[in-house]
């Protein structure tokens, strides 16, 4: 691939149009400006531009290796852009609530469900602060909200994949962040847990938080996510979900995937 990406069929250059700018502040929560991300000089995301509108609920879909997780990591400041920039509008990456892919948690460490959730208070309590009664009450409320009432004292090693994901959602909830990034939140958990957690995401959306989730199940995206970014290293389409997930775009994403050749991959910019 050396040619610059052609404009996508249903490309809304700046994502979905905001309804109303709530407090007269910038309507965008996050803007990507000609962003190129690379792992060891292999580009994972090419020249991506666009915005996540404040309060929007966006799914990122696309083939494996298409740069979805890489994009979230870059927003978190874990990867430095090879080119272009990410405008966070003054939001410190440490303030963003982020659910990485499941494998990064060592479940052999003996902590309880409540302790794991309490980590959501980290921004305020840090490594030394003491938790107040209110902090504990809020953690309890969050655990209730994700369906883990009664599991507070259970060691995390005894949880199922779905229960652990619920506990991590409780942690995210306590972070009270205006921007929430979820990397495959429903991967390898039971259907019931996925439905419940989708309800939590809808609640965040209702509270006006900006939510971005990397997902695989297109059905779920169509049902619950108003906006979608289809990413196959290049932006294939970004905008209202129904437009983005049109067959013409999905076909184009597959064509891009087929053309990938690691050895020949050089960025033309």
């Amino acid at each position: 691939m050396s040619a610059a990406p052609k404009p996508a069929t249903h490309d809304h250059a700046h994502g979905p149009v905001p309804a109303v700018s709530a407090r007269g502040t910038a309507p965008e929560a996050l803007r990507l400006e000609d962003l190129t991300l690379a792992y060891e000089r292999h580009p994972a995301v090419h020249h991506l531009s666009g915005s996540f509108v404040r309060g929007s609920l966006t799914a990122i879909v696309g083939p494996n290796g298409g740069g979805k997780s890489t994009l979230l990591k870059a927003v978190m400041g874990l990867i430095r852009p090879a080119a272009g920039r990410i405008e966070r509008f003054g939001l410190d990456p440490a303030r963003i609530a982020y659910l990485p892919q499941a494998a990064e948690l060592d479940r052999a460490v003996p902590v309880s469900v409540a302790e794991l959730a309490m980590l959501g208070h980290w921004r305020r309590l840090g490594a030394f602060g003491a938790a107040s009664q209110e902090d504990r009450a809020r953690a309890q409320a969050a655990l209730n909200a994700v369906g883990l009432a009664g599991f507070e004292r259970r060691p995390i090693a005894t949880l199922s994949a779905g229960q652990l994901r619920r506990a991590l959602f409780a942690r995210l909830m306590l972070e009270e962040s205006p921007l929430i990034l979820l990397d495959e939140p429903f991967a390898s958990i039971d259907q019931r847990a996925a439905e419940d957690l989708m309800g939590v995401i809808a609640r965040w959306h209702g509270e006006g938080r900006t939510v971005v989730a990397v997902l695989h199940e297109l059905d779920r995206v169509r049902r619950h996510f108003p906006a979608t970014l289809l990413l196959a290293r290049h932006k294939v389409a970004w905008g209202p979900t129904a437009d983005v997930l049109a067959e013409v775009n999905l076909t184009r994403a597959r064509a891009l995937t087929a053309a990938w050749d690691e050895a020949a991959e050089v960025c033309a910019a």
Binding site: A94, I96, E104, L105, V109, S112, L119, W122, A127, P155
Partner: protein
């Protein structure tokens, strides 16, 4: 018939060297065993072992420069240990070599260098002492060192406790939320580890210094559930092993270092067999209905 007093109390009451060994062991147990709980949690037991060997050439250099001075040997050991820890970490980050492999490379190098230095400069007795320690020959300086290290370790663990637990549990979370605290906790932990190995070196020698860190900590997992209760249990086990080991060494005329480590090992095996949590007994004897 030997009385309980003669068996358990008299050796310490009558002999100064037994009292010194006991106090030294107490200090080691209070510092090293809780630290060992984190060492095991972080899956760094073997890295700790490698580091304990890495101390030898430094201690030998100190010995070359100043003779049998506890401070010079400790300083040399500290510098050598930190150097190997730092270099291994650097190698792991700058090359494709994994951290455990680079540790293995460095520590064999360090051990060989250390044995060569001690052999050239000292007597065979010195070499034996460096390799296997001399719990019954700790002097005032060594006691001060052990007590200082134990105090520093407990203070350091108290300060870093939450950061260390989170670092074990979810290093990614600390990376995004901690603002460099993860790195600080890791370096602080490595520093405390080297300090404890240097302190243990004098009593147990370079080959067994890791014993009081790893064995009680591993055994504690079969008794206690949370990190801090495991630390308490680990300290109690290390303490027991020290007392039992010293008494065995006294009554049966055995070398003290191996006697202490073997006692810790026996408590570890006992814990694996009949511990309150997840032991062989609990799994296979007490609740056979769980096996379907």
């Amino acid at each position: 018939m030997i009385s309980p007093y003669d068996l358990l109390i008299a050796p310490f009451a009558e002999f100064v060297f037994m009292r010194r060994a006991l106090v030294g062991g107490l200090a080691l147990a209070l510092g090293a065993a809780p630290l060992g709980v984190f060492l095991v949690l972080r899956r760094m037991s073997l890295v700790g072992d490698a580091l304990s060997h890495a101390i030898l050439p430094g201690a030998a250099l100190g010995f070359l420069l100043a003779g049998l001075s506890i401070w010079w040997m400790s300083l040399g050991g500290l510098v050598a240990g930190l150097l190997v820890a730092g270099l291994s970490g650097l190698m792991a980050r700058t090359t494709t070599l994994k951290e455990d492999a680079s540790f293995a490379g460095f520590y064999v190098l360090a051990l060989a260098l250390g044995v060569m230095l001690v052999s050239r400069a000292g007597t065979p007795i010195d070499l034996i002492r460096a390799l296997f320690g001399s719990a019954l020959a700790v002097d005032d300086a060594a006691l001060w060192l052990m007590a200082a290290v134990a105090s520093l370790t407990l203070l350091g663990l108290a300060a870093l406790y939450r950061a260390l637990v989170v670092e074990c549990l979810d290093p990614g979370f600390l990376k995004t939320h901690g603002g460099g605290l993860g790195t600080l906790a890791h370096l602080g932990f490595l520093g405390l580890l080297v300090l404890n190995l240097v302190a243990a070196f004098h009593a147990l020698g370079t080959l067994m210094a890791i014993g009081l860190l790893v064995l009680p900590a591993t055994a504690a997992r079969f008794w206690a559930e949370t990190v801090w209760t495991q630390m308490l249990v680990a300290a109690a086990i290390a303490l027991t092993a020290t007392v039992v080991g010293l008494l065995l060494s006294f009554h049966l005329d055995l070398p003290s270092g191996p006697a202490i480590v073997l006692s810790a090992g026996a408590l570890y095996l006992l814990s694996v067999a009949v511990g309150a949590r997840d032991s062989l007994y609990r799994r296979h004897v007490q609740s056979p209905h769980l096996r379907a």
